[in-house]
Symmetry: C2
Subunit: 271 residues, 2 copies
């Protein structure tokens, strides 16, 4: 089922600026037992992204109504994709004054869950550095598309992406946490990457799980110093990495505490 | 008039990967007196881009037939936008095997031509560095959208975009040539920018115009050393810059020779 501006639909005008310029944002929301437990956090991030782009935010009430309509008629569990484009706008990059954003919401099955522990490689495809777009989940995912092709060819479960300067940024579809010297760390994202909802939640609940840490840069040549690592996103929660480029990693000992803290914060499906 | 996969149409499925991931390329082709004089060069670039992205190229014959169909029914002069997406592909970044690309061709009026000479500023919006995408005219133009908003607010005709390291890359919708020590130069684009069809043609015909030069990096702090500058793209041809951030620039003395060489090479409308 797909809702376009609140009404069932399957197509959009070719003049949509999301298509023509990647002029829009999206959220990927976990649906669990007929609810969208982290929806408020997704909408908060979407609103912040709209402010950065000068894109009119449709308002929580409108988007919540869209989600309710989809949930009333859809599967209990799955993935909600919420796309917001700047609407129609002809030719030319300049955002048209009085743009009327377009909302596209669709529900998809949960992705396959590989067994306990991911086998992860390091992509040759570099992630770009763009301070103007860093952190945003915008519609231009072509680097991730190229990386995903590489990951499929290599037979990995996921691949880490480095920027030009050999900083480890994230996976192609997950953020990344790692343990070093007893601290739980994740790369800062001032110039590249998506600031994920699950990443933010983990940074927030870390103390409740008895962990200290935060943001810390990670370079390619430091990867061999890492004891253990996990990937995360708002659909799958936490996924431990069991092997990084053929090197086995230690299990993430604090996983039960972290999952408990996430459940406490609303991410009930990660239990 | 819009042709989608060769047939008149106004909408595309919401599952299109161009919309959802920016997974596609486009060309902006000048239509002049009922013809598309540089079409062969545009198709050559499109084919090369498809090879980089593993996107099946529809073939010259198919695209030429699309263009002929549009020209037979459209205005004599204008702008043809040719979008090629990876077609439909559900959720997930990995390019689906056997993807069937979608062709979207539309005709638009020529943009307003400001009088002789552009007033150009330097954008605060930085252009990203992405070796994976550099040179490609891909669908993710969100940095240019942000820059275009800045250019409108500032009242400039166009803005130059720098990368993070203060390299001058291009304008928001033009490539850039500058004259220094009698040489005609343009920034190399190994990590950022669009390698434009008009830029390539100018590099090619430069000797016929009696000019030497080529690619040479240009840093922000070197802008004050430049005698004169022009911008170019395949729609407008050459546009001299008369003022750069309030500093008047000298006229581009070699403009008549360059325009004559471009006309000779097929870009007849720049005369």
């Amino acid at each position: 089922v797909t809702l376009i501006d609140g009404r069932p639909g399957e197509s959009i005008p070719v003049t949509d600026r999301g298509l023509n310029y990647g002029d829009g944002l999206f959220e990927t929301v976990r649906l669990h037992e007929g609810e969208a437990p982290l929806l408020a956090r997704h909408l908060q991030r979407l609103r912040a992204g709209c402010q950065r782009l000068g894109l009119p935010y449709p308002g929580d009430a409108t988007l919540e109504a869209d989600v309710r309509a989809l949930l009333s008629d859809g599967p209990e569990n799955g993935v909600l994709r919420l796309v917001l484009t700047r609407g129609d706008g002809g030719r030319g990059y300049a955002p048209p004054p009085g743009a009327h954003p377009r909302r596209i919401l669709s529900v998809h099955p949960l992705p396959d869950q590989p067994g306990e522990g991911l086998r992860v490689g390091v992509c040759r495809t570099r992630i770009g550095r763009s301070p103007a777009l860093a952190g945003l989940k915008h519609l231009g995912r072509l680097e991730q598309v190229i990386a995903a092709g590489e990951i499929v060819r290599q037979g990995w479960d996921e691949g880490l992406m480095l920027d030009e300067s050999d900083l480890v940024i994230e996976g192609s579809r997950h953020n990344l946490f790692y343990l070093r010297d007893g601290q739980l760390l994740t790369p800062p994202l001032p110039a590249a990457g998506v600031a994920g909802v699950m990443r933010a939640l983990l940074l927030e609940v870390m103390p409740q799980a008895g962990l200290s840490g935060g943001e810390a840069t990670l370079r390619y040549h430091e990867l061999h110093e890492i004891e253990s690592m996990f990937l995360c996103n708002a659909v799958v929660g936490i996924r431990p990495v069991k092997a990084l480029a053929d090197r086995p990693l230690a299990p993430v000992a604090v996983l039960p505490q972290l999952r408990a803290a996430l459940v406490e914060a609303g991410a009930r499906w990660v239990a």
